[in-house]
């Protein structure tokens, strides 16, 4: 279905990003998976997927640095000739209550989670506009809808993606490009498993379906939005959260 197409997935070698990379690659796309630290795990991820027949490359860069974003996009265009899909998935947490949150804690999370999406979108945009087609999916979070104690920075960055994505969608509506948000709930990844067990149990109790989601359950929503038949979907927020945002 995605044969001949090229996707960039930031933070694409771990967690939800790795599941997105795997699903798109197994649907026939070449996936350029970005990572910032952890070169060995990134290369291991690529090697594993290649062994399963998928076409994947990994690219080091920091999405909070626009020059890195442009460099990686240029790399991908140079090596693979095109970019059809951009999935802004890279995200970090630095959880503190407001009273303890430093300016750096605030800015670091905003710079990666929100500015990173802006930087990467800007870096691919002229190419997508020239080709008259493209799909952008930004990975937000249920926390962007509801807020969360200790996550003023994270929730602001994730909520910010709603406004950013709608603006992009409006600007690109007549250029054959869609921009949408996927907002996952609590998903079984390293980021969530790092939460202490008692706290995690409390989290799960709040989820109407009483379970965490699987990364692949998020990946299939992303994949759906990237499909050719989804061209009328733009500026939308597609949640996948076991009922958590009600």
């Amino acid at each position: 279905m995605f044969e001949g197409r090229v996707a960039i997935v930031t933070g694409g070698t771990r967690g939800i990003g790795a599941a997105i990379t795997e699903m798109l690659a197994k649907s026939g796309a070449h996936v350029a998976a970005g990572y910032s630290k952890g070169k060995e795990p990134a290369e291991a991820c690529v090697a594993r997927l290649k062994a399963e027949g998928a076409s994947v490359s990994c690219h080091q860069g920091r999405v909070d640095d626009f020059n890195d974003c442009q460099r990686v996009v240029d790399e991908v265009l140079e090596r693979f000739g095109r970019v059809d899909y951009l999935v802004n998935n890279a995200g970090i947490t630095v959880d503190k209550t407001l009273r303890k949150m430093s300016n750096d804690d605030w800015h670091n999370v905003l710079n990666v989670n929100l500015s990173g999406a802006f930087h990467m979108t800007k870096a691919v945009l002229e190419h997508m506009i020239e080709r008259g087609s493209g799909r952008i999916v930004n990975i937000s979070s249920v926390i962007g809808e509801t807020g969360n104690i200790g996550q003023a920075n994270y929730s602001a960055s994730k909520a910010g993606l709603f406004g950013f994505t709608k603006s992009a969608a409006l600007e690109l509506a007549n250029k054959g490009i869609t921009a949408n948000v996927v907002a996952p709930g609590f998903i079984a990844t390293e980021m969530v498993k790092a939460v202490p067990e008692a706290a995690l149990a409390k989290v799960i109790e709040k989820i109407p379906q009483r379970r965490l989601g699987e990364p692949s359950e998020v990946a299939r929503v992303v994949k759906f939005l990237l499909e050719d038949g989804s061209s009328y979907i733009t500026g939308a927020v597609y949640t996948v959260n076991g009922g958590l945002d009600m």
Partner: protein, 261 residues
Amino acid sequence: MDATSTFGHSATLRSLAGRVAIVTGGSRGIGGAISRSLAADGAIVAVVGVAPDRERTAELRASLNGSAKLVHFYEADVADYPQCEAAVRNVIADHGRVDILVNNAGITKDHTIRKMTVDEWKAVLDVNLSGPFFMMKAVLEHMIERKYGRIVNISSVVGHTGNFGQSNYAAAKAGLLGLTKTVALETARAGITVNAVAPGFTATEMVKLMPQAAIDIAKSRTPQDRLGEPDEIGRVVRFLIDEGSSFITGATYDVNGGMFM
């Protein structure tokens, strides 16, 4: 049937063979596209409609190839609870089960509030909001017993934004979102998902009935400058009712060419 990925869930949509779906108003328009999509993937589709829909369902069947035999018609006015109950009973008697319910049947009776009669208000609320409540009530015991269900309620962009001349329709479509979330909460631990799809202006008879000037305004308010196609709505419904979509519940999936709040 697709193989299970290493993450434990199928990577793509799964076959609907063996599943039974009820689609209210499923003989034409968005409902017709939904019926086609589900039948194409092997589901038995029970179209629930009023008397004129019987003929329309026959036409729908005639337009399908192999999947025509999967489509059946059950007459019921969804604004009447006993008729909803009877239709569901008959579907289960004939086909053994109900896995999927798509509350798509809807009507318009447009007037500004100053000109809208109380009857016009009530008629639209009865079909577009009470209908989904009645149909969900009618299938829920069965779905809970089987610990499996997929319910999709067709709302509208107008439920988010309102629309000139549609106070009844907008109220019903917005109300459907609260109804969807509530039933989703109440059934979250029973293997049932309940979601809404909110289409923008879609190229169906309902929209074509609007005055041309209103259609032109609708298009100009759509950033993509076009109406949606029924199939574009149908595929979102198809995605949500898939077995693999089990973590999605209480959601509203918009498909509106950029015409959002």
